[in-house]
Symmetry: C2
Subunit: 608 residues, 2 copies
Amino acid sequence: MPERDLQYLAELAAQLRVDSVRAAAAAGSGHPTSSMSAADLMAVLFACHLRYDFADPGNPANDHLIFSKGHASPLLYSLYKAAGAIDDEELLTFRKRGSRLEGHPTPRLPWVDVATGSLGQGLPVGVGVALAARMERLPYRVWVLCGDSELAEGSIWEAAEHAGDEGLANLTVIVDVNRLGQRGPTRHGWDTGAYARRFGAFGWHTIEIDGHDPGQIDFALSDASNTRRRPTVILAKTRKGEGVLEVENREGAHGKALKDPGKAVEELGGVRDLRVEVHVPDEAPAPFRFEDGPLELPAYKVGEAVATRTAYGEALAALGAARGDVVALDGEVGDSTKTELFAEAFPERFFQMYIAEQQLVAAAVGLQVRGWRPYAATFAAFLTRAYDFIRMAGVSGASIRLVGSHAGVAIGEDGPSQMGLEDLAMMRPVHGSTVLYPCDANQAAALVAEMADLEGVSYLRTTRGATPVIYEPGERFPVGGSRVLRRSAEDRATIVAAGVTVHEALAAADELAAADVPVGVIDLYSIKPVDAAVLAEAATTTGNLITVEDHRPEGGLGDAVLEAVSELGPRVVQLGVTGLPASATPEEQLADARIDRRAIVAAVKRLL
Amino acid sequence: MPERDLQYLAELAAQLRVDSVRAAAAAGSGHPTSSMSAADLMAVLFACHLRYDFADPGNPANDHLIFSKGHASPLLYSLYKAAGAIDDEELLTFRKRGSRLEGHPTPRLPWVDVATGSLGQGLPVGVGVALAARMERLPYRVWVLCGDSELAEGSIWEAAEHAGDEGLANLTVIVDVNRLGQRGPTRHGWDTGAYARRFGAFGWHTIEIDGHDPGQIDFALSDASNTRRRPTVILAKTRKGEGVLEVENREGAHGKALKDPGKAVEELGGVRDLRVEVHVPDEAPAPFRFEDGPLELPAYKVGEAVATRTAYGEALAALGAARGDVVALDGEVGDSTKTELFAEAFPERFFQMYIAEQQLVAAAVGLQVRGWRPYAATFAAFLTRAYDFIRMAGVSGASIRLVGSHAGVAIGEDGPSQMGLEDLAMMRPVHGSTVLYPCDANQAAALVAEMADLEGVSYLRTTRGATPVIYEPGERFPVGGSRVLRRSAEDRATIVAAGVTVHEALAAADELAAADVPVGVIDLYSIKPVDAAVLAEAATTTGNLITVEDHRPEGGLGDAVLEAVSELGPRVVQLGVTGLPASATPEEQLADARIDRRAIVAAVKRLL
């Protein structure tokens, strides 16, 4: 590289440091030192390797850049300024109320794909974005900036395994090995070899460099771009706070504005106003998409016994035929969740993520960045493994569809480790989430189709065992709705149920009716948003509600009902799973947990 | 090894296979084939290497055996039978209601340390058990049986990193590489070298063997025991369903009883009744314990402003001086959670787990297996990363103390990725959990001490910013209690708050009192169990409750209140964080989320 170019890159990096210091100074907080260590890396990437049209962030040929170390946001925003995407005035709004320049990047900024700030997530999401390129037959590249501390997260190694195994050559990880974590030295310090051995073992091409040498950085990035059949990790030895003596390579300087920013800026050579001309990508063909067709959802006869998980698999396969943008992901349990039915029909749109639920959800998030409509399924219990990813998907406003099978004690003999009993509680508070829980196969199929057009994180809860079909094929079940299955002017109470407990509620209502105690029954298949109007009507007419769910009483369907009617003051009895289940048949489990027909009858009688 | 011994081991393994087939046949379900692949491995372990006194499972010199592949429970129970711990009659109660022999092992059995069945958890827990040996100065060994499928879990690599870095030579992992996962081949099949490269890169001693050759198995287990300064992984190539043609090394034979168990038993040589004499450990000194002392909790002056996270750190250090069995774990944020105060005082009882929250929680679970009282802390938001481990700790009945700092929007500028807004919803449904949320430093200190004697999973939620001290030092705050801070016979409503919102509620009550609207205020520091009596009194006297929390409205404090008073029918208004916060000051955040004093006043006025 010519000396003039090297000088420009050094100047650009100095500007990024200066602007990082200035932004944090204006905010009075933030992470300037974690930005300064990676400034040279990003200066060379922006000036020489990134292909991105800042005027058109939706250009499908654009590369993707993910700051997995989201706390280095001052550096990212300084890069945006250098690229002309934001001005200096906006840069100095960093971390202030109303600013798009948040403490950690979020997609409020059009150039940010996903929110980061929970470490170890940017790389797994990047894997999903890189996987999409194959389907789309596009040559874009995915660049992920990681910190060294976050390499301790298991999710990084789920991603390393998947990317290595898939040979994702369009994925490059740049690790800013600045040796210092939040509260002191990292485990491996500057031993980039330790990281190289690990990534190498997972099948990656590894490059170790001085992260402050623009020539070495440029060579490494070129090498990464030219590497075939393997992802590349660039392990760059850097100094945290590089360029300012007060903080350079010192402990105790994490996550704070500098004490004397004026002096620091001076030390860095003063304020500059360089521009970086980021290469606009060459014109590329439109992304490949699979064909659409008519939607023919499976139809089940009323009275048949069909598991809702089976309906999920069959409906998903039908949806795949109808919509070319639907893709499906499996956590190595596709024969249980019935995702296998989609996999058989559409192998080129199916992703086997093996038993790695964090990567499962992260890949879904990455795929939706590129406009695909992912459905990712595993046992409801095992989605808890990915809760932080689901939470962050909510922060990102990512549109992903999650399906948890084998919910509740109704699974039977397998025991509590396999029972999803906390999944509704986990999914409801996720920002912008939708939570659905069908009781029969036709309803499940209809909801699978409804989910396709939902924005944000949506969740469908399915059941292992077969349940009777009670709805006709083709009936509609809008999100936010409910079904009143029993209602009369004489009702003395209303039972609110979903999933397996709907059938228990119906049996209980029949038994009560025979004993001259008429009660209503509501199928609350949409747990969030909830049908507040129908619940309010029941609360004000009968005044007595019984909620019953195959889930812990904390945070699930019962709480959703209570929230909806809390200002109306009905009496509500909640039935849910309180003890620790063991092995038993499904029927024994429902009885032991006191959520079966008998328990409902007893609760109604007690309440009245 | 003499031929006679090899013959005995082969016969013992055959018996384990036969009994696994018989147990699953009696149950009509279960995982016989995943048991059969590992039968030789476990036969040699039990006969020649394990040191365990089945008559005294509490013997501190006992080795620990963890079936990380918990679905191989038929094999474990067959081993117990061979060791004389259970009889054949009990073996055949497998998976039946009331049996201790559940689908996946739980500590209902006295020889099981922790529940398994959520894959990838046994090894991280084993790391905790192995770490305890150093503190206790005991020579016990930790043996973990893993499946090959579960090596895709990131938590395995968090554990591999920690064990390798710590050089846990007392830890041996035996991987049953049977090539077949639930729904088909694993990623690496029989390529044990792929796994060896990965574990080797993380600093482990690796051995690749034929897992059906007792001589090779014995050699490998001896080699593992004799290896210094490094943990060992034995990668054993096996055949799933080994010994029965119908299922051996075949897809589609996972997790099912055999079709013709009689024929399978015949093929395996018929029923045997061999006993295995497991070596009882040599007498060992009592486990080393640190000294106890008097408890002198920190005392804060009323009116001072102190962060509850600071009180946590100071109280934990005080507790460490008082109780030698208290240990603390950090997820590389000890300067934020203030765990660093304990680390400085008691470095030999402090565990830096780096940014690996799953391993953080798993190590705590492992340490409590050995009788230690662990406190593990990170940001409340990042505990979501470990939710499956927390859920399973509940199933295990493990007594661990978790602390989530930086809860809620009150953190201010850092933005939503760092805000714990789902943690209460996540912790409440965990089986046997306790959930605490202090509002001032003296209360926080008292609750830290209370937690020491709690059984099960307990959780303390702390706040980043300083809050005014409102309680005198030394006041008691029993779990399940609350504090009525304002109450009069004229109260027209009652505000229920916890943590930061207590101070907003008090300010709102003062403002309302000035406007001649007297309202009560309850500090609900114990979210679970909740003080139902005090809430019921408020519900029946004022009849109007306002709940206010720095958390999503779904699943948190408001729902806990609703659950407690649902049968009484008061009117309840819930205030919580509904939108997606961005960067802003703590005060701006509380106002924007409408959980500040102003919002409370408005809600009360609207309700009345």
